[in-house]
């Protein structure tokens, strides 16, 4: 089970802006352990889905080139304060995480 996602979602006029920070190692699979010199296995988020009140507003597919502890921000129309934002990710090792937040 992945760690919870930190979400900030704010509505201004008709535009809702969502910013999210996900604790995740995002290992590329190309780095070596400093002590053992062994390759550290790839471990990165591959898919991310954002929903507003149950409707998908953004889907992302990622490779290992997204930074450690990924940050993403996106915006959509039609949200009002109090609505639910849900973000879900899955990674290449089968871990996942889902967090809900309230649009403010």
């Amino acid at each position: 089970m992945g760690k919870p996602i930190k979400i900030r979602a704010k509505v201004k006029g008709d535009i809702s802006e969502v910013k999210a920070l996900m604790p995740h190692d995002m290992e590329s699979g190309l780095r070596r352990d400093a002590e053992t010199n062994e390759l550290i296995p790839a471990h990165y988020i591959t898919e991310l889905v954002a929903e507003h009140n149950g409707e998908i507003v953004m889907t992302a597919y990622w490779g290992p080139a997204v930074s450690r502890n990924p940050y993403v921000s996106f915006s959509f129309t039609g949200g009002v304060a109090g609505d639910t934002i849900k973000i879900h990710w899955e990674d290449n090792q089968g871990d996942s995480s889902t967090t809900e937040a309230v649009l403010k």
Partner: protein, 278 residues
């Protein structure tokens, strides 16, 4: 009063070793004048932002990072750890003034009973020991997270490190930190000051060197190079390695004294930790 002054002059005489030795306040003033003279356009509190005070390109990226900085993960983890109860039912709040909230500006301080400098990180483990808990590793992880949370609650407070003038051991600890700071070491034969005083603001390979003024205001730091949040001493260890000097043990007397001196140099600046750095 007169006795104190007499004692003080004896102490100063002891450390002067023949040459003139300035006290902490003169050291701080000299440093302040040096940097404000060299960077006349940088407002004082901006020195707390390290190289971002004078590197525009880096600053822009840093501001973007600060919009949703990865150290927020450490603050959140740190708060949960800070508020958790020890096996004996007590918690960190029981160990610190004001329940541990908004107190970072008091650290490091010279503990007269111990006869040593106590940093906030050392105090966190002292608290654990007093409650029969195992110590935490000093550089990153849970302890850095707790420290990050405690810094966060102290943001905006003015650093106020004291070197009690009536305690020769405190002054000796400060002097030892100052000596470490100015001493060349490692295969590259660099002192802290070689980079951060003489060459502050200049490039060393791809890095722009920060000023000593403000070095102690913003810890712990999420450093992109580390990919995690670490304490000031984690950075000092890295500095040692960069000049090919074998680092000392975390929270060794030398490092604590150095942190004492370094933090004193930032007296008067506001705490702004935790922070993100390249």
């Amino acid at each position: 009063m007169n006795n104190k002054i007499l004692l003080l002059s004896v102490i100063i005489g002891l450390f002067a070793g023949g040459g003139a030795t300035a006290g902490p306040e003169e050291d701080r003033t000299a440093m302040l004048e040096y940097y404000t003279g060299r960077f006349p356009d940088v407002p004082l509190q901006e020195f707390a932002n390290g190289l971002y005070a004078f590197d525009e390109i880096a600053r822009e990226q840093w501001i973007e990072m600060e919009d949703f900085p990865p150290y927020e993960i450490a603050i959140e983890d740190g708060q949960a750890l800070f508020e958790a109860r020890f096996a004996n039912g007590k918690s960190y709040a029981d160990c610190f003034d004001n329940g541990g909230i908004g107190i970072r500006q008091q650290y490091p301080y010279f503990a007269a009973d111990l006869g040593e400098v106590v940093t906030l990180e050392l105090a966190i483990n002292q608290c654990r020991a007093a409650n029969d808990e195992q110590p935490l590793p000093y550089l990153t992880g849970d302890l850095a997270a707790i420290s990050a949370y405690m810094s966060y609650t102290s943001r905006g407070n003015t650093i106020n490190v004291e070197v009690p003038q009536d305690n020769p051991s405190a002054l000796a600890a400060y002097e030892s930190g100052k000596q470490y700071y100015y001493t060349r070491r490692g295969q590259l034969n660099f002192a802290c000051m070689s980079c951060h005083v003489q060459s502050a603001g200049l490039m060393l390979r791809a890095d722009r060197l920060s000023t000593t003024l403000g070095h102690a205001t913003h810890w712990p730091v999420y450093r992109a190079k580390w990919g995690e949040t670490g304490t000031l001493q984690n950075r000092i260890i890295e500095c040692n390695s960069q000049v090919f000097a074998k680092p000392l043990e975390p929270q060794s007397i030398e490092y604590r004294n150095l942190e004492y001196f370094l933090t004193y140099m930032s007296n008067g600046l506001e705490l702004n930790g935790p922070a993100s750095r390249r």
